[in-house]
Symmetry: C2
Subunit: 302 residues, 2 copies
Protein backbone atom coordinates (compact mmCIF):
# COMPACT_ATOMS: atom_id res chain seq x y z
CA UNK A 1 0.00 0.00 0.00
CA UNK A 2 1.40 3.40 -1.01
CA UNK A 3 1.01 6.16 1.58
CA UNK A 4 0.38 9.82 0.80
CA UNK A 5 2.90 12.46 1.96
CA UNK A 6 2.30 16.20 1.87
CA UNK A 7 5.35 18.41 1.22
CA UNK A 8 5.46 22.23 1.05
CA UNK A 9 7.05 22.74 -2.39
CA UNK A 10 7.84 21.18 -5.79
CA UNK A 11 11.50 21.46 -4.81
CA UNK A 12 10.86 18.91 -2.04
CA UNK A 13 9.23 16.54 -4.51
CA UNK A 14 12.38 16.61 -6.62
CA UNK A 15 14.65 16.11 -3.61
CA UNK A 16 12.74 13.15 -2.16
CA UNK A 17 13.00 9.67 -3.60
CA UNK A 18 10.60 7.78 -1.40
CA UNK A 19 8.05 4.96 -1.73
CA UNK A 20 5.08 7.32 -1.37
CA UNK A 21 2.57 9.46 -3.24
CA UNK A 22 3.62 13.10 -2.89
CA UNK A 23 1.19 16.02 -2.69
CA UNK A 24 2.35 19.65 -2.65
CA UNK A 25 0.68 22.08 -0.23
CA UNK A 26 2.10 24.67 2.12
CA UNK A 27 -1.13 25.07 4.08
CA UNK A 28 -2.20 28.27 2.34
CA UNK A 29 -4.79 28.44 -0.42
CA UNK A 30 -7.18 25.60 -1.24
CA UNK A 31 -5.91 22.11 -0.40
CA UNK A 32 -5.07 19.82 -3.35
CA UNK A 33 -7.10 16.76 -4.35
CA UNK A 34 -6.31 13.75 -2.21
CA UNK A 35 -5.39 15.79 0.88
CA UNK A 36 -7.66 13.58 3.00
CA UNK A 37 -5.28 10.63 2.29
CA UNK A 38 -2.23 12.39 3.78
CA UNK A 39 -0.63 10.41 6.61
CA UNK A 40 2.78 12.13 6.74
CA UNK A 41 3.24 15.91 6.61
CA UNK A 42 6.57 17.65 5.99
CA UNK A 43 6.02 21.11 7.46
CA UNK A 44 7.41 24.22 5.71
CA UNK A 45 10.73 25.43 7.18
CA UNK A 46 10.55 28.92 8.74
CA UNK A 47 8.04 31.49 7.57
CA UNK A 48 4.74 29.93 6.46
CA UNK A 49 3.33 27.35 8.86
CA UNK A 50 0.16 25.33 8.80
CA UNK A 51 -2.79 26.88 10.55
CA UNK A 52 -4.74 24.55 12.82
CA UNK A 53 -7.63 24.74 10.32
CA UNK A 54 -5.37 23.55 7.49
CA UNK A 55 -4.46 20.49 9.56
CA UNK A 56 -8.13 19.55 9.89
CA UNK A 57 -8.14 18.97 6.11
CA UNK A 58 -5.95 15.91 6.82
CA UNK A 59 -8.07 13.48 8.86
CA UNK A 60 -5.68 10.56 8.11
CA UNK A 61 -2.63 12.46 9.44
CA UNK A 62 -0.30 10.40 11.65
CA UNK A 63 3.07 12.23 11.55
CA UNK A 64 4.18 15.87 11.36
CA UNK A 65 7.88 16.17 10.51
CA UNK A 66 9.62 19.50 11.12
CA UNK A 67 12.98 20.53 9.69
CA UNK A 68 13.71 22.89 12.60
CA UNK A 69 15.10 21.91 15.97
CA UNK A 70 12.63 24.27 17.67
CA UNK A 71 9.05 22.97 17.97
CA UNK A 72 7.35 25.82 19.86
CA UNK A 73 4.54 26.81 17.45
CA UNK A 74 3.69 23.17 16.70
CA UNK A 75 3.34 21.79 20.22
CA UNK A 76 -0.10 23.30 20.69
CA UNK A 77 -1.14 22.62 17.11
CA UNK A 78 -0.69 18.91 16.42
CA UNK A 79 -4.00 17.03 16.82
CA UNK A 80 -4.26 14.24 19.40
CA UNK A 81 -2.86 10.96 18.11
CA UNK A 82 -0.46 12.68 15.70
CA UNK A 83 3.29 12.24 16.26
CA UNK A 84 5.47 15.36 16.07
CA UNK A 85 9.14 14.95 15.03
CA UNK A 86 11.74 17.71 14.84
CA UNK A 87 14.84 18.26 12.71
CA UNK A 88 17.39 17.56 15.46
CA UNK A 89 20.82 16.99 13.95
CA UNK A 90 19.99 18.59 10.62
CA UNK A 91 21.13 22.04 11.69
CA UNK A 92 23.52 21.09 14.47
CA UNK A 93 26.74 20.97 12.52
CA UNK A 94 26.18 24.15 10.52
CA UNK A 95 24.96 26.11 13.54
CA UNK A 96 27.92 24.90 15.60
CA UNK A 97 30.22 25.81 12.72
CA UNK A 98 28.88 29.36 12.63
CA UNK A 99 29.20 29.71 16.40
CA UNK A 100 32.84 28.62 16.23
CA UNK A 101 33.49 30.87 13.23
CA UNK A 102 32.05 33.91 14.99
CA UNK A 103 33.69 33.22 18.34
CA UNK A 104 37.15 32.61 16.90
CA UNK A 105 36.83 35.64 14.60
CA UNK A 106 36.31 37.90 17.60
CA UNK A 107 38.93 36.19 19.77
CA UNK A 108 41.53 36.59 17.01
CA UNK A 109 40.50 40.12 16.01
CA UNK A 110 39.52 39.35 12.41
CA UNK A 111 37.10 42.32 12.13
CA UNK A 112 39.94 44.63 13.19
CA UNK A 113 42.36 43.05 10.72
CA UNK A 114 39.70 43.44 8.01
CA UNK A 115 39.73 47.18 8.66
CA UNK A 116 43.53 47.16 8.35
CA UNK A 117 43.28 45.10 5.17
CA UNK A 118 41.02 47.75 3.62
CA UNK A 119 43.91 50.18 4.12
CA UNK A 120 46.69 47.83 3.05
CA UNK A 121 48.14 47.89 6.55
CA UNK A 122 50.32 44.99 7.78
CA UNK A 123 50.39 45.53 11.52
CA UNK A 124 50.22 42.97 14.27
CA UNK A 125 47.94 43.63 17.22
CA UNK A 126 48.70 41.18 19.97
CA UNK A 127 45.66 39.45 21.43
CA UNK A 128 44.75 36.27 23.26
CA UNK A 129 43.63 32.82 22.20
CA UNK A 130 41.34 30.19 23.70
CA UNK A 131 44.04 27.67 24.69
CA UNK A 132 43.52 27.25 28.42
CA UNK A 133 40.58 29.67 28.47
CA UNK A 134 37.20 28.79 29.91
CA UNK A 135 34.21 28.77 27.56
CA UNK A 136 30.70 28.40 29.02
CA UNK A 137 28.30 26.52 26.77
CA UNK A 138 24.67 27.24 27.65
CA UNK A 139 22.67 24.34 26.28
CA UNK A 140 24.09 20.82 26.19
CA UNK A 141 22.46 19.56 22.99
CA UNK A 142 23.86 18.62 19.60
CA UNK A 143 25.02 22.14 18.71
CA UNK A 144 27.07 22.82 21.81
CA UNK A 145 28.41 19.26 21.91
CA UNK A 146 29.94 19.99 18.52
CA UNK A 147 31.15 23.43 19.60
CA UNK A 148 32.84 21.79 22.59
CA UNK A 149 34.47 19.19 20.37
CA UNK A 150 35.90 21.89 18.12
CA UNK A 151 37.08 24.20 20.91
CA UNK A 152 38.60 21.44 23.01
CA UNK A 153 40.80 20.48 20.05
CA UNK A 154 42.14 24.05 20.29
CA UNK A 155 42.82 23.78 24.02
CA UNK A 156 39.75 25.51 25.45
CA UNK A 157 38.26 24.43 28.76
CA UNK A 158 34.58 23.91 27.87
CA UNK A 159 31.96 23.90 30.62
CA UNK A 160 28.35 22.93 29.93
CA UNK A 161 25.38 24.61 31.60
CA UNK A 162 21.77 23.49 31.13
CA UNK A 163 18.40 23.79 32.86
CA UNK A 164 19.12 20.96 35.26
CA UNK A 165 22.51 19.84 36.50
CA UNK A 166 23.63 16.34 35.55
CA UNK A 167 26.85 14.45 35.00
CA UNK A 168 29.22 16.83 33.20
CA UNK A 169 26.61 19.60 33.03
CA UNK A 170 26.11 22.42 35.54
CA UNK A 171 22.65 23.77 36.34
CA UNK A 172 21.70 27.36 35.49
CA UNK A 173 21.56 28.06 39.22
CA UNK A 174 25.36 27.67 39.24
CA UNK A 175 25.85 30.49 36.70
CA UNK A 176 26.80 33.17 39.26
CA UNK A 177 29.83 31.11 40.23
CA UNK A 178 30.79 30.30 36.64
CA UNK A 179 30.40 33.62 34.80
CA UNK A 180 33.33 35.53 36.36
CA UNK A 181 35.88 33.11 34.89
CA UNK A 182 34.31 32.83 31.42
CA UNK A 183 36.36 34.09 28.47
CA UNK A 184 33.33 33.37 26.29
CA UNK A 185 29.70 32.23 26.51
CA UNK A 186 27.95 30.36 23.70
CA UNK A 187 24.13 30.32 23.75
CA UNK A 188 22.60 27.29 22.03
CA UNK A 189 19.53 26.51 24.07
CA UNK A 190 15.79 26.73 23.42
CA UNK A 191 13.82 29.90 24.04
CA UNK A 192 11.35 29.13 26.81
CA UNK A 193 9.71 31.23 29.53
CA UNK A 194 12.67 30.25 31.77
CA UNK A 195 15.34 31.31 29.26
CA UNK A 196 13.58 34.51 28.15
CA UNK A 197 16.17 37.29 28.70
CA UNK A 198 18.25 34.90 30.79
CA UNK A 199 21.22 36.98 29.61
CA UNK A 200 20.27 40.20 31.38
CA UNK A 201 22.25 43.10 32.85
CA UNK A 202 23.28 41.05 35.89
CA UNK A 203 24.45 38.10 33.78
CA UNK A 204 26.53 40.38 31.56
CA UNK A 205 27.96 42.38 34.46
CA UNK A 206 29.25 39.14 35.97
CA UNK A 207 31.39 38.42 32.90
CA UNK A 208 35.03 39.57 33.00
CA UNK A 209 36.31 42.41 30.81
CA UNK A 210 36.92 41.29 27.25
CA UNK A 211 34.54 38.32 27.33
CA UNK A 212 32.75 37.31 24.14
CA UNK A 213 29.04 36.48 23.94
CA UNK A 214 27.91 34.20 21.09
CA UNK A 215 24.19 33.79 20.37
CA UNK A 216 23.14 31.20 17.79
CA UNK A 217 19.92 30.34 19.65
CA UNK A 218 17.17 32.97 19.83
CA UNK A 219 17.48 36.74 20.15
CA UNK A 220 14.97 36.85 22.98
CA UNK A 221 17.28 34.91 25.30
CA UNK A 222 19.29 38.14 25.57
CA UNK A 223 18.16 41.50 26.96
CA UNK A 224 19.21 43.58 23.95
CA UNK A 225 19.28 46.89 25.84
CA UNK A 226 21.56 45.46 28.52
CA UNK A 227 23.87 43.94 25.92
CA UNK A 228 23.96 47.19 23.98
CA UNK A 229 25.08 49.06 27.10
CA UNK A 230 27.98 46.65 27.70
CA UNK A 231 29.01 46.73 24.04
CA UNK A 232 28.91 50.51 23.88
CA UNK A 233 31.14 50.61 26.95
CA UNK A 234 33.55 48.41 25.01
CA UNK A 235 33.72 45.93 27.87
CA UNK A 236 32.42 42.88 25.97
CA UNK A 237 32.17 41.80 22.35
CA UNK A 238 29.47 39.71 20.70
CA UNK A 239 28.72 37.49 17.75
CA UNK A 240 24.98 37.53 17.07
CA UNK A 241 23.33 35.30 14.50
CA UNK A 242 19.98 36.03 16.14
CA UNK A 243 18.68 39.29 17.54
CA UNK A 244 15.71 40.84 19.31
CA UNK A 245 14.04 42.35 17.34
CA UNK A 246 14.59 40.17 14.28
CA UNK A 247 15.21 41.08 11.54
CA UNK A 248 17.26 43.89 13.03
CA UNK A 249 15.98 47.23 11.63
CA UNK A 250 18.45 49.09 9.40
CA UNK A 251 18.76 51.92 11.93
CA UNK A 252 19.36 49.71 14.99
CA UNK A 253 22.42 50.82 17.02
CA UNK A 254 23.84 47.24 17.17
CA UNK A 255 24.83 47.36 13.50
CA UNK A 256 27.41 50.09 13.89
CA UNK A 257 29.44 48.84 16.86
CA UNK A 258 33.00 47.73 16.05
CA UNK A 259 32.92 44.96 18.67
CA UNK A 260 29.84 43.20 17.26
CA UNK A 261 29.59 40.77 14.37
CA UNK A 262 26.06 40.18 13.08
CA UNK A 263 24.81 37.53 10.66
CA UNK A 264 21.14 37.36 9.62
CA UNK A 265 20.01 34.11 11.35
CA UNK A 266 21.93 31.83 9.03
CA UNK A 267 23.24 29.31 11.56
CA UNK A 268 21.28 26.33 10.32
CA UNK A 269 20.44 27.60 6.86
CA UNK A 270 23.24 26.35 4.66
CA UNK A 271 22.89 24.52 1.38
CA UNK A 272 24.28 21.44 3.13
CA UNK A 273 21.42 21.71 5.56
CA UNK A 274 18.80 21.03 2.89
CA UNK A 275 20.50 17.86 1.79
CA UNK A 276 20.76 16.61 5.39
CA UNK A 277 17.12 17.60 5.97
CA UNK A 278 15.90 15.65 2.92
CA UNK A 279 17.92 12.61 4.02
CA UNK A 280 16.18 12.75 7.41
CA UNK A 281 12.73 13.08 5.82
CA UNK A 282 13.34 10.19 3.41
CA UNK A 283 14.56 8.02 6.27
CA UNK A 284 11.52 8.89 8.38
CA UNK A 285 9.12 8.05 5.55
CA UNK A 286 10.87 4.70 5.00
CA UNK A 287 10.62 4.01 8.72
CA UNK A 288 6.93 4.92 8.75
CA UNK A 289 6.13 2.78 5.72
CA UNK A 290 7.99 -0.25 7.09
CA UNK A 291 6.58 0.10 10.60
CA UNK A 292 9.90 0.95 12.27
CA UNK A 293 10.07 3.49 15.11
CA UNK A 294 10.62 7.09 14.00
CA UNK A 295 13.56 9.18 15.25
CA UNK A 296 13.44 12.71 16.75
CA UNK A 297 9.99 12.12 18.25
CA UNK A 298 8.84 15.07 20.38
CA UNK A 299 5.25 14.06 21.16
CA UNK A 300 3.14 11.08 20.15
CA UNK A 301 3.87 7.40 20.15
CA UNK A 302 4.80 6.44 16.63
Amino acid sequence: MVITVCVPSEQDVEALEVPAELLVWDGTGPPPDGIEQVEFLLAPYMGATFATESLTAMPALKVVQLLSAGVEPWLAKVPPGVTLCNGRGVHGSSTAELAVAGLLSLVRGLPRYARQQAEGQWQERRGGDLDGARVLLLGAGDINQRVAGALRALGADCVFVARTARDGVHGVDELPGLLPSARAVVLALPHTPETHQLVDAGFLAALPDGAVLVNVARGTIVDTAALLAELRAGRLSAFLDVTDPEPLPADHPLWGLPNVVITPHVGGGTTGWRERGMRLVAEQIRRYVSGQPLVNVITGDY
Copy 2:
Protein backbone atom coordinates in the same frame (compact mmCIF):
# COMPACT_ATOMS: atom_id res chain seq x y z
CA MET B 1 76.36 24.81 40.70
CA VAL B 2 74.26 27.54 39.14
CA ILE B 3 74.28 27.69 35.34
CA THR B 4 74.17 30.86 33.26
CA VAL B 5 71.32 31.40 30.83
CA CYS B 6 71.21 34.14 28.20
CA VAL B 7 67.76 35.59 27.37
CA PRO B 8 66.95 38.31 24.82
CA SER B 9 65.08 40.81 27.02
CA GLU B 10 64.37 42.00 30.57
CA GLN B 11 60.78 40.86 30.01
CA ASP B 12 62.06 37.28 29.79
CA VAL B 13 63.93 37.68 33.07
CA GLU B 14 60.68 38.65 34.77
CA ALA B 15 58.75 35.81 33.18
CA LEU B 16 61.26 33.08 34.09
CA GLU B 17 61.55 31.67 37.56
CA VAL B 18 64.40 29.23 37.14
CA PRO B 19 67.39 27.94 39.12
CA ALA B 20 69.90 29.86 36.97
CA GLU B 21 71.85 33.08 36.57
CA LEU B 22 70.16 35.16 33.86
CA LEU B 23 72.03 37.45 31.45
CA VAL B 24 70.22 39.69 28.97
CA TRP B 25 71.58 39.95 25.42
CA ASP B 26 69.87 39.82 22.05
CA GLY B 27 73.10 39.27 20.11
CA THR B 28 73.46 42.88 19.01
CA GLY B 29 75.82 45.42 20.59
CA PRO B 30 78.61 44.45 22.99
CA PRO B 31 78.04 41.23 24.96
CA PRO B 32 77.42 41.61 28.70
CA ASP B 33 79.92 40.57 31.40
CA GLY B 34 79.82 36.85 32.06
CA ILE B 35 78.77 35.91 28.52
CA GLU B 36 81.54 33.29 28.40
CA GLN B 37 79.69 31.36 31.16
CA VAL B 38 76.46 30.98 29.14
CA GLU B 39 75.43 27.34 28.68
CA PHE B 40 71.79 27.84 27.67
CA LEU B 41 70.64 30.45 25.13
CA LEU B 42 67.02 31.49 24.65
CA ALA B 43 67.01 32.92 21.12
CA PRO B 44 64.98 36.06 20.30
CA TYR B 45 61.62 35.26 18.68
CA MET B 46 61.25 36.60 15.13
CA GLY B 47 63.18 39.66 13.95
CA ALA B 48 66.62 39.93 15.53
CA THR B 49 68.62 36.70 15.52
CA PHE B 50 72.10 35.88 16.70
CA ALA B 51 74.84 36.22 14.12
CA THR B 52 77.33 33.37 14.03
CA GLU B 53 79.97 35.77 15.42
CA SER B 54 77.78 36.56 18.41
CA LEU B 55 77.56 32.85 19.19
CA THR B 56 81.35 32.60 19.32
CA ALA B 57 81.20 34.89 22.37
CA MET B 58 79.68 31.89 24.21
CA PRO B 59 82.32 29.14 24.28
CA ALA B 60 80.46 27.26 27.06
CA LEU B 61 77.20 27.11 25.06
CA LYS B 62 75.42 23.72 25.16
CA VAL B 63 71.79 24.47 24.23
CA VAL B 64 70.02 26.91 21.90
CA GLN B 65 66.29 27.06 22.60
CA LEU B 66 64.00 28.62 19.97
CA LEU B 67 60.43 29.75 20.54
CA SER B 68 59.47 29.18 16.91
CA ALA B 69 58.51 25.87 15.33
CA GLY B 70 60.62 26.73 12.27
CA VAL B 71 64.38 26.26 12.67
CA GLU B 72 65.67 27.16 9.18
CA PRO B 73 68.08 30.03 9.94
CA TRP B 74 69.54 28.21 12.95
CA LEU B 75 70.36 24.84 11.42
CA ALA B 76 73.50 26.16 9.71
CA LYS B 77 74.40 28.40 12.62
CA VAL B 78 74.59 26.27 15.77
CA PRO B 79 78.20 25.27 16.52
CA PRO B 80 79.14 21.58 16.65
CA GLY B 81 78.27 20.00 19.99
CA VAL B 82 75.44 22.46 20.68
CA THR B 83 71.89 21.10 20.91
CA LEU B 84 69.14 23.00 19.05
CA CYS B 85 65.56 22.82 20.38
CA ASN B 86 62.50 24.39 18.81
CA GLY B 87 59.21 25.74 20.17
CA ARG B 88 57.03 22.88 18.95
CA GLY B 89 53.65 22.94 20.72
CA VAL B 90 53.98 26.54 21.89
CA HIS B 91 52.30 27.97 18.80
CA GLY B 92 50.31 24.95 17.74
CA SER B 93 47.02 25.75 19.40
CA SER B 94 46.95 29.44 18.51
CA THR B 95 48.03 28.83 14.91
CA ALA B 96 45.44 26.07 14.53
CA GLU B 97 42.84 28.38 16.06
CA LEU B 98 43.60 31.10 13.51
CA ALA B 99 43.49 28.60 10.63
CA VAL B 100 40.05 27.40 11.78
CA ALA B 101 38.87 30.99 12.32
CA GLY B 102 39.94 32.04 8.82
CA LEU B 103 38.64 28.93 7.08
CA LEU B 104 35.23 29.00 8.75
CA SER B 105 34.92 32.77 8.18
CA LEU B 106 35.28 32.26 4.45
CA VAL B 107 33.12 29.12 4.32
CA ARG B 108 30.32 30.97 6.14
CA GLY B 109 30.73 34.26 4.26
CA LEU B 110 31.56 36.45 7.26
CA PRO B 111 33.46 39.06 5.19
CA ARG B 112 30.37 39.46 2.97
CA TYR B 113 28.08 39.75 5.99
CA ALA B 114 30.47 42.34 7.43
CA ARG B 115 29.90 44.46 4.32
CA GLN B 116 26.14 44.06 4.79
CA GLN B 117 26.49 44.95 8.47
CA ALA B 118 28.20 48.22 7.52
CA GLU B 119 24.99 49.09 5.63
CA GLY B 120 22.56 47.80 8.25
CA GLN B 121 21.34 45.13 5.84
CA TRP B 122 19.72 41.93 7.19
CA GLN B 123 19.80 39.62 4.19
CA GLU B 124 20.56 35.92 4.08
CA ARG B 125 22.91 34.64 1.40
CA ARG B 126 22.71 30.89 1.25
CA GLY B 127 26.08 29.12 1.26
CA GLY B 128 27.60 25.80 2.19
CA ASP B 129 29.17 24.35 5.31
CA LEU B 130 31.93 21.84 5.98
CA ASP B 131 29.72 18.99 7.24
CA GLY B 132 30.54 16.12 4.92
CA ALA B 133 33.07 18.21 2.96
CA ARG B 134 36.62 17.10 2.37
CA VAL B 135 39.42 19.22 3.83
CA LEU B 136 43.03 18.49 2.84
CA LEU B 137 45.54 19.16 5.60
CA LEU B 138 49.07 19.61 4.23
CA GLY B 139 51.39 18.91 7.12
CA ALA B 140 50.54 16.34 9.78
CA GLY B 141 52.13 18.01 12.81
CA ASP B 142 50.67 19.56 15.94
CA ILE B 143 48.93 22.43 14.14
CA ASN B 144 47.01 20.36 11.61
CA GLN B 145 46.25 17.64 14.17
CA ARG B 146 44.40 20.31 16.12
CA VAL B 147 42.75 21.72 13.00
CA ALA B 148 41.53 18.20 12.18
CA GLY B 149 40.18 17.73 15.70
CA ALA B 150 38.21 20.97 15.44
CA LEU B 151 36.87 20.39 11.93
CA ARG B 152 35.93 16.75 12.53
CA ALA B 153 33.73 17.86 15.42
CA LEU B 154 31.86 19.92 12.80
CA GLY B 155 31.47 16.98 10.43
CA ALA B 156 34.33 17.63 7.99
CA ASP B 157 36.19 14.77 6.34
CA CYS B 158 39.82 15.61 7.10
CA VAL B 159 42.59 14.06 5.01
CA PHE B 160 46.27 14.45 5.94
CA VAL B 161 49.04 14.88 3.39
CA ALA B 162 52.75 15.00 4.26
CA ARG B 163 56.14 14.49 2.61
CA THR B 164 56.02 10.74 3.01
CA ALA B 165 52.93 8.57 3.15
CA ARG B 166 52.31 6.68 6.38
CA ASP B 167 49.39 5.28 8.31
CA GLY B 168 46.56 7.83 8.04
CA VAL B 169 48.70 10.25 6.02
CA HIS B 170 48.91 10.48 2.23
CA GLY B 171 52.17 11.37 0.48
CA VAL B 172 52.51 14.59 -1.56
CA ASP B 173 52.76 12.43 -4.67
CA GLU B 174 49.07 11.58 -4.15
CA LEU B 175 47.98 15.24 -4.33
CA PRO B 176 46.81 15.09 -7.98
CA GLY B 177 44.20 12.51 -6.99
CA LEU B 178 43.15 14.36 -3.83
CA LEU B 179 42.90 18.01 -4.93
CA PRO B 180 39.82 17.74 -7.20
CA SER B 181 37.58 16.73 -4.28
CA ALA B 182 38.94 19.25 -1.75
CA ARG B 183 36.54 21.89 -0.45
CA ALA B 184 39.50 23.43 1.40
CA VAL B 185 43.26 23.05 1.81
CA VAL B 186 45.09 24.04 4.99
CA LEU B 187 48.86 24.59 4.73
CA ALA B 188 50.73 23.96 8.00
CA LEU B 189 54.03 22.45 6.91
CA PRO B 190 57.64 23.65 6.96
CA HIS B 191 59.13 25.68 4.16
CA THR B 192 61.87 23.56 2.60
CA PRO B 193 63.34 23.32 -0.92
CA GLU B 194 60.72 20.61 -1.59
CA THR B 195 57.75 22.70 -0.40
CA HIS B 196 58.91 25.96 -2.02
CA GLN B 197 55.96 27.08 -4.19
CA LEU B 198 54.42 23.64 -3.82
CA VAL B 199 51.10 25.42 -4.30
CA ASP B 200 51.63 26.54 -7.89
CA ALA B 201 49.32 27.16 -10.85
CA GLY B 202 48.83 23.43 -11.46
CA PHE B 203 48.00 22.72 -7.79
CA LEU B 204 45.45 25.56 -7.72
CA ALA B 205 43.92 24.64 -11.08
CA ALA B 206 43.26 21.12 -9.75
CA LEU B 207 41.06 22.49 -6.95
CA PRO B 208 37.30 22.63 -7.59
CA ASP B 209 35.46 25.95 -7.99
CA GLY B 210 34.80 27.61 -4.67
CA ALA B 211 37.60 25.89 -2.78
CA VAL B 212 39.31 27.74 0.07
CA LEU B 213 43.09 27.91 0.55
CA VAL B 214 44.36 28.54 4.08
CA ASN B 215 48.05 29.35 4.64
CA VAL B 216 49.33 29.59 8.21
CA ALA B 217 52.75 28.16 7.33
CA ARG B 218 55.06 30.28 5.14
CA GLY B 219 54.19 32.58 2.25
CA THR B 220 56.86 31.03 0.03
CA ILE B 221 55.02 27.68 -0.06
CA VAL B 222 52.55 29.39 -2.41
CA ASP B 223 53.23 30.90 -5.86
CA THR B 224 51.67 34.29 -5.16
CA ALA B 225 51.21 35.21 -8.84
CA ALA B 226 49.36 31.96 -9.55
CA LEU B 227 47.15 32.41 -6.48
CA LEU B 228 46.42 36.01 -7.42
CA ALA B 229 45.25 34.89 -10.87
CA GLU B 230 42.80 32.35 -9.39
CA LEU B 231 41.54 34.85 -6.81
CA ARG B 232 41.02 37.58 -9.39
CA ALA B 233 39.02 35.10 -11.47
CA GLY B 234 36.84 34.60 -8.38
CA ARG B 235 37.26 30.84 -8.61
CA LEU B 236 38.90 30.32 -5.20
CA SER B 237 39.08 32.19 -1.92
CA ALA B 238 41.96 32.36 0.54
CA PHE B 239 42.86 33.04 4.13
CA LEU B 240 46.49 34.13 4.34
CA ASP B 241 48.30 34.70 7.62
CA VAL B 242 51.58 34.56 5.73
CA THR B 243 52.45 36.00 2.33
CA ASP B 244 55.26 36.27 -0.17
CA PRO B 245 56.54 38.95 0.01
CA GLU B 246 56.15 39.56 3.73
CA PRO B 247 55.20 42.02 5.04
CA LEU B 248 52.83 42.57 2.15
CA PRO B 249 53.50 46.06 0.66
CA ALA B 250 50.63 48.53 1.06
CA ASP B 251 50.03 48.62 -2.70
CA HIS B 252 49.98 44.84 -3.23
CA PRO B 253 46.93 43.68 -5.23
CA LEU B 254 46.11 40.90 -2.72
CA TRP B 255 44.86 43.43 -0.14
CA GLY B 256 41.92 44.63 -2.21
CA LEU B 257 40.31 41.35 -3.25
CA PRO B 258 36.93 40.61 -1.66
CA ASN B 259 37.60 36.85 -1.53
CA VAL B 260 40.82 37.14 0.50
CA VAL B 261 41.25 37.57 4.23
CA ILE B 262 44.75 38.63 5.32
CA THR B 263 46.22 38.73 8.81
CA PRO B 264 49.81 39.91 9.43
CA HIS B 265 51.53 36.66 10.46
CA VAL B 266 49.83 36.43 13.83
CA GLY B 267 49.09 32.69 13.91
CA GLY B 268 51.38 31.84 16.77
CA GLY B 269 51.77 35.30 18.21
CA THR B 270 49.09 35.56 20.85
CA THR B 271 49.52 36.67 24.43
CA GLY B 272 48.77 33.10 25.48
CA TRP B 273 51.70 32.01 23.33
CA ARG B 274 54.19 33.88 25.50
CA GLU B 275 53.02 32.18 28.64
CA ARG B 276 53.23 28.75 26.99
CA GLY B 277 56.66 29.64 25.60
CA MET B 278 58.02 30.65 29.00
CA ARG B 279 56.65 27.44 30.54
CA LEU B 280 58.55 25.46 27.91
CA VAL B 281 61.79 27.40 28.50
CA ALA B 282 61.57 27.02 32.28
CA GLU B 283 60.95 23.30 31.90
CA GLN B 284 63.92 22.92 29.53
CA ILE B 285 66.25 24.78 31.92
CA ARG B 286 65.09 22.57 34.80
CA ARG B 287 65.72 19.49 32.65
CA TYR B 288 69.16 20.74 31.66
CA VAL B 289 70.16 21.55 35.24
CA SER B 290 68.96 18.19 36.54
CA GLY B 291 70.49 16.19 33.68
CA GLN B 292 67.17 15.01 32.22
CA PRO B 293 66.74 14.71 28.45
CA LEU B 294 65.46 17.87 26.74
CA VAL B 295 62.29 17.92 24.65
CA ASN B 296 61.85 19.30 21.09
CA VAL B 297 65.45 18.44 20.17
CA ILE B 298 66.17 19.17 16.49
CA THR B 299 69.93 18.54 16.34
CA GLY B 300 72.48 17.58 18.96
CA ASP B 301 72.45 14.93 21.61
CA TYR B 302 71.45 16.57 24.84
